[in-house]
């Protein structure tokens, strides 16, 4: 069991794999998913690496798979997900897969080529059929036109012989063909222009769309016949037709021949149809047979590729027998990793075991927090602000409690809490079922991912609502209010007719003598000063919880300093910070509690005003008038001055102490280093023959440092340290004040939420409740819907979201700024399931 409090202890390991066993070992580790590999050759280009050929083969396989998948999708055959994820295949299987895909692709290509030629034939025949059926009308028109022309010319010539000759010369040639419908207008225009109006085009649209054999798309086409005269024009017309990609067909001149030809073509089309459907059937059968395996194949290839990608990060030793890599893994998983390596070695049949060697490194290890489905969402809230440094205190476990709690302070309404709780509970209960139906809906995925946090937020809101005694803005009087109008002093008549009657807290006659046992007294629901009282109460509550959380944050910073044995931080940061916070805001909390306990109704006229008191404390000014700002305990003035002074002393302490100490430590170290260097120099002169060796080792170290990117010892500069500390001090001191004020949002949002729900009740639903008789019944029926819809849309979703964001801010800024550095980087293990998931999303 790992704890969430600090990230896992990581070990930097060196991995020696025997070349034959490397593949199997890595694929075992990929199934395990607990190791993060480091790239040993970051300077190498992707195509200069050792296993680039294997990667390329995988890509080739993927290309073929994609091709096949496209074909399957074109036939609309479903590709089911495999029941279980296939194990990573052996290297042998890769060749097998390759040949399978090769064969399939070849077969598919052949089938496609055949189908295309068949379809081309089919298209030609259908087009010809359309021409033949339409030609008759064209020719009829043409003959009509022709006779008109001859009539005209007949008039002109007025000579019988001439007319006869003309008719013969007027023997028109024609071409018939089919062209894309959208090209007709330009086609016609161009024909007319380039032949100077000497051609005659008749066209008709083909009603049924035709299939383009190359792309498989359906296109609309038109039949046309062009009449012209003379061979030159014929050549020109043909050229134009070619330019517009019109297909020309031989069309017989007489109607009889056309009819015969049409009949012949009809039979040929029918023959072709049977052949075509058979070949399509064959294609379909082939595709169906592979559709089931498609997804599994994809996964397998992905896995192979991933393994080779990892192997590309390894170094090869001089003898070419070992692959050497470096990796990070959790200390406590090492035995599992070793087992996996052993199985890998066994699987590959190799006799030499792989070696996992722990090594020392100056590099910062990655941060690895073991999470489960419940803690995951909280950890991700923290991580999205910044990943914790290695072994730094992780705020996530505290967030599990404080996050829903602070949320509930703002969202305090039991009714809304119950709705939220139920919704989240439904998601949690049907978790496995919902997870299987992978949804692409982003909004739904956000809600579903946060189901556990919503569950907790709902639960805590129920509690907070009970404390506030707010259920859909109404109060429940469960235990009986502590207040009642004393029957001796108020008759029912007085109560009914006097609106400004007040229950007197100084007089015990209106008070039962014991408070309402749990939460807010329901009597406030009907009092006029409800808001005033609630504001004061909630404000104080907010300050108390807020300052407590900040205290807690500062204490966590102590935990960090203790863990990393940084005594400078304890004495120069934690102590002054703690003092500063407690002198001002700790004292304020004490005053709040004191006021709640010690001041009662009889003293209410001169009850101390804490805000004014705090201001006076800073101004060192204690006026006697009004009485609310006067001293309320002995020695208040001197004690407060002392606190203020203490807080003020903390500022320079926080500012100067740490940089000075750091500088001292640094110069001490320098002196030591200098002494060491002198010794080293002396030794060097005696052992000159070893010089070459030391240099090479130095170079190696240098290279290592440069590619890991972490320097062992940072250059120390006092100025920089001082400026840094200066910023830190200002941020902390001002932060304490502004953050305390910032926690008042707890009150502000809870007020807004309560008021909004009250308004909604009064303006919408209460209208119906006020009506009597059957109208009231109907009104309730009608008005319930808008009330319910608005409650869910505005109060639950919008207000919930806003309260969530404010809580997020309180955690990220107000809480985590007290101790959290968040300068780490995430542990990103090599895992097959993640790789496959990503590929599924593509």
């Amino acid at each position: 069991m790992g704890s969430l409090y600090r990230s896992e202890e990581m070990a930097a390991c060196q991995l020696f794999l025997q070349a034959e066993a490397a593949y199997a070992s890595i694929s075992e580790l990929g199934e395990l998913g607990l190791v993060q590999f480091k790239d040993m050759n970051p300077d190498l280009n992707s195509f200069q690496r050792k296993f680039v050929n294997e990667v390329r083969r995988c890509e080739e396989m993927e290309r073929k798979l994609r091709f096949l998948e496209k074909e399957i999708a074109r036939d609309q055959i479903p590709m089911p997900d495999p029941k279980e994820i296939p194990n990573s295949p052996e290297p042998r299987e890769m060749i097998l897969l390759e040949t399978t895909f090769e064969k399939l692709e070849k077969e598919m290509n052949e089938v496609n080529v055949n189908a295309t030629t068949l379809k081309k034939n089919f298209l030609d025949l259908t087009e010809l059929k359309h021409i033949l059926t339409n030609a008759q009308t064209f020719f009829d028109e043409a003959v009509l036109d022709q006779s008109q022309i001859s009539e005209d010319s007949g008039h002109l010539l007025n000579d019988a012989d001439g007319l006869q000759g003309l008719l013969q010369t007027l023997r028109l040639g024609f071409v018939a063909g089919v062209v894309l419908r959208e090209r007709i207008p330009t086609f016609e225009r161009l024909l007319w222009r380039s032949c100077r109006g000497n051609v005659f085009l008749r066209q008709k649209e083909i009603d049924t769309p035709l299939e383009d054999p190359n792309t498989g798309e359906e296109v609309m086409k038109s039949v046309f016949v062009i009449f012209f005269q003379g061979e030159q024009l014929k050549a020109k017309v043909k050229k134009i037709c070619e330019g517009f990609r019109a297909t020309l067909y031989q069309c017989p001149e007489t109607a009889n021949e056309r009819r015969e030809m049409a009949a012949g073509i009809q039979t040929r089309i029918e023959d072709l149809n049977t052949v075509l459907s058979q070949s399509l059937d064959h294609r379909h059968r082939v595709l169906v047979s592979i559709a089931d395996d498609m997804k599994a194949w994809h996964m397998k290839v992905r896995k192979i590729k991933a393994v080779y990608h990892v192997l590309n990060m390894f170094n090869v030793d001089v003898t070419q027998k070992y692959l050497i890599g470096e990796c990070w893994c959790a200390e406590r998983h090492r035995s599992r990793i070793e087992t996996a390596l052993r199985t890998g070695t066994e699987r590959s049949g190799s006799s030499v075991p792989s070696i996992l060697n722990r090594m020392e490194t100056t590099e910062h290890p990655p941060t690895y927090n073991c999470t489960n489905k419940f803690t995951k969402v909280f950890q991700s809230i923290v991580d999205s602000y910044g990943v914790a440094g290695y072994r730094e205190v992780n705020p996530a476990p505290f967030t599990i409690v404080t996050f829903p709690f602070l949320f509930s302070l703002m969202f305090g309404d039991s009714g809304h809490g119950v709705l939220m709780f139920m919704a989240a509970l439904a998601m949690v209960v049907m978790e496995t079922k919902l997870m299987q139906t992978k949804s692409d809906n982003e909004i739904w995925n956000i809600f579903f991912g946060g189901r556990y946090i919503i569950l907790l937020m709902g639960g805590f809101s129920i509690y907070a609502g009970l404390m506030y005694n707010d259920i859909f803005s109404k109060s429940f009087n469960i235990f009986g209010s502590g207040w009642y109008p004393h029957p001796q002093r108020y008759s029912e008549h007085t109560i009914d007719h006097h609106k400004d009657l007040t229950l007197d807290p100084t007089n015990n006659s209106d008070y039962r003598g014991h408070p309402y046992p749990f939460g807010m007294d329901p009597v406030w629901q009907m009092s006029l000063n409800k808001i005033t009282w609630l504001n004061s109460f909630k404000m104080k509550i907010s300050i108390i919880f807020g300052v407590s959380q900040m205290f807690f944050g500062v204490i966590l910073s102590l935990q960090n300093s203790r863990y990393f044995r940084n005594s400078v931080n304890i004495f120069c940061e934690f102590l002054p910070q703690m003092l500063f916070l407690s002198c001002i805001f700790g004292y304020l909390i004490v005053l709040i509690l004191y006021k709640w306990i010690a001041i009662n109704a009889t003293m209410s006229a001169c009850a101390p005003s804490l805000l004014i008191d705090l201001i006076n404390m800073f101004l060192l000014n204690y006026p006697l008038e009004p009485c609310s700002s006067a001293e309320f305990y002995d020695g208040q003035k001197s004690f407060q001055s002392f606190l203020l002074l203490l807080a003020l002393v903390c500022v320079p302490w926080l500012l100067i102490a740490k940089p000075i100490i750091l500088k001292r430590q640094h110069s001490k170290k320098q002196v030591q280093l200098l002494n060491n260097n002198d010794e080293f120099e002396g030794r060097k002169s005696t052992e000159i023959n070893l010089d070459g060796e030391t240099q090479t080792s130095k170079q190696k170290d240098g290279r290592k440092d440069s590619h890991t990117g972490h320097e062992e010892e940072e250059e120390f500069s006092f100025g920089e340290a001082f400026v840094h500390q200066c910023i830190h001090t200002i941020e902390y001191c001002l932060g304490c004040i502004s953050h305390t004020a910032s926690y008042l949002r707890l009150w502000a949002l809870s007020l807004a939420h309560a008021e909004l729900s009250e308004v909604l009740w009064n303006m919408v639903f209460r209208v119906a409740l006020k009506m009597s008789g059957y109208t009231g019944l109907i009104a309730i029926f009608i008005l319930f819907t808008p009330w319910a819809v608005l409650t869910i849309a505005i109060l639950l979703l919008m207000e919930g979201l806003s309260a969530f964001l404010h809580t997020l801010r309180l955690h990220w800024v107000e809480f985590q700024s007290k101790f959290y550095k968040g300068d780490g980087y995430l542990f990103d293990p090599f895992r097959f399931d993640k790789i496959i998931e990503v590929s599924a999303d593509d």
Binding site: R183, T186, E242, G243
Partner: protein, 348 residues
């Protein structure tokens, strides 16, 4: 069109083109590409750039022409997207960019048919940005008048063509004159159009088009040495929107050899440098390369200012340069000609 309202109509596309621009292959990538030993290496490395998996569906072995086509296809897709999303006047501006390619296509087709190639083998060689509907019917015309009357009159290029209509048959020299006359008219028209747009677009585009015009003028002059083109004819081919107009033009018309041209360029500081740094030795860059370098420099300038159309022009030109670069490297890799592999022109 001013800075205040620019984003209403063109903000999206400007943002888009700036995004596209950041996908242009960087110097570091070129260094990596140059180390490739086979085209498959090249493909592997291009995957890590903005080109992504654009070659992943191509079976190996790869050919340079496939890479070229795919790169061009990507540019065309991006350009078409911007063209369909744009409104006037940006759409007109983008159309103007395509006219240049149209001219090239027309000339290519005429030359092709002159050499008895069929249209179907010529069409794939045309630049897809400059394709138009009547393009494939170009071969029917045997004289320029016919070409104009039958085919080109419907295209936007028609007004440019009026100057070169004659009853002459088409021959080799003719074609070059047609190309340059068309280009002259096109550049001048584009220049005028940009002036009407005003503000930054006009400022920037006038600089760019002036350079384009001057480059053409200088290239025409140099290429016309030793041909039967008369000096008067030469003068009519110079686009009159550059910095060389009018004094430089009259000087170029009188030029008889390369040295004369160089002497003319002496008077213009930006061109003087180009001439000084270029040479014909293998180690030196050619004048053409220097012009390309200067063009890249100009195009990069476009992205320093906001709210103007110049970036669309610049993006297309930079992409074209990138295309040339990658194809150059790919050719060198394919032909194992490593010594000249660094002859590309770095962009960023």
């Amino acid at each position: 069109m001013n800075s205040l309202n620019f984003n209403i109509d063109f903000g999206y596309l400007e943002g888009l083109v700036r995004g596209f621009k950041s996908g242009i292959v960087k110097q570091a990538d070129y260094l990596n590409l140059m180390q490739c030993e086979t085209l498959d290496d090249l493909k592997l490395h291009l995957q890590s750039t903005d080109y992504g998996n654009f070659l992943s569906n191509e079976p190996s072995p790869l050919q340079v022409s496939i890479i070229d086509d795919k790169i061009r296809e990507k540019l065309v897709i991006e350009f078409e997207h911007m063209r369909t999303q744009s409104v006037v006047p940006l759409s007109t501006f983008l159309d103007y960019i395509t006219y240049g390619y149209m001219i090239d296509n027309i000339v290519l087709l005429i030359t092709g048919t002159l050499h008895q190639h069929t249209i179907s083998e010529l069409i794939p060689k045309c630049h897809p940005l400059g394709s138009f509907e009547q393009m494939e019917a170009l071969s029917i015309a045997s004289t320029l008048l016919e070409l104009y009357n039958a085919v080109l009159v419907d295209t936007p290029l028609a007004p440019y063509f009026i100057d070169c209509i004659s009853e002459q048959d088409i021959d080799e020299l003719n074609i070059e004159i047609i190309r340059n006359t068309l280009y002259r008219a096109y550049l001048e028209d584009f220049y005028k159009f940009c002036q009407t747009l005003g503000s930054t677009t006009a400022d920037y585009m006038s600089e760019v088009l002036a350079f384009e015009a001057d480059r053409r003028a200088i290239t025409i002059t140099i290429n016309s040495f030793g041909t039967e083109l008369t000096k008067d004819d030469r003068a009519t081919l110079f686009p009159r929107c550059g910095k060389l107009f009018p004094e430089g033009h009259s000087a170029l018309v009188r030029a008889d050899d390369y040295e004369h041209v160089r002497a003319v360029a002496e008077f213009y500081s930006e061109y003087r440098i180009l001439f000084e740094e270029s040479g014909n030795n293998p180690t030196e860059k050619t004048l053409e390369d220097k012009f390309f370098e200067h063009e890249v420099m100009l195009m990069k300038k476009a992205f320093l200012e906001q709210f103007h159309f110049g970036i669309f022009y610049a993006y297309v030109k930079l992409k074209e340069q990138e295309n040339r670069n990658i194809v150059w490297i790919a050719e060198c890799v394919a032909q194992r000609h490593q010594t000249r592999i660094d002859g590309y022109i770095p962009i960023f």
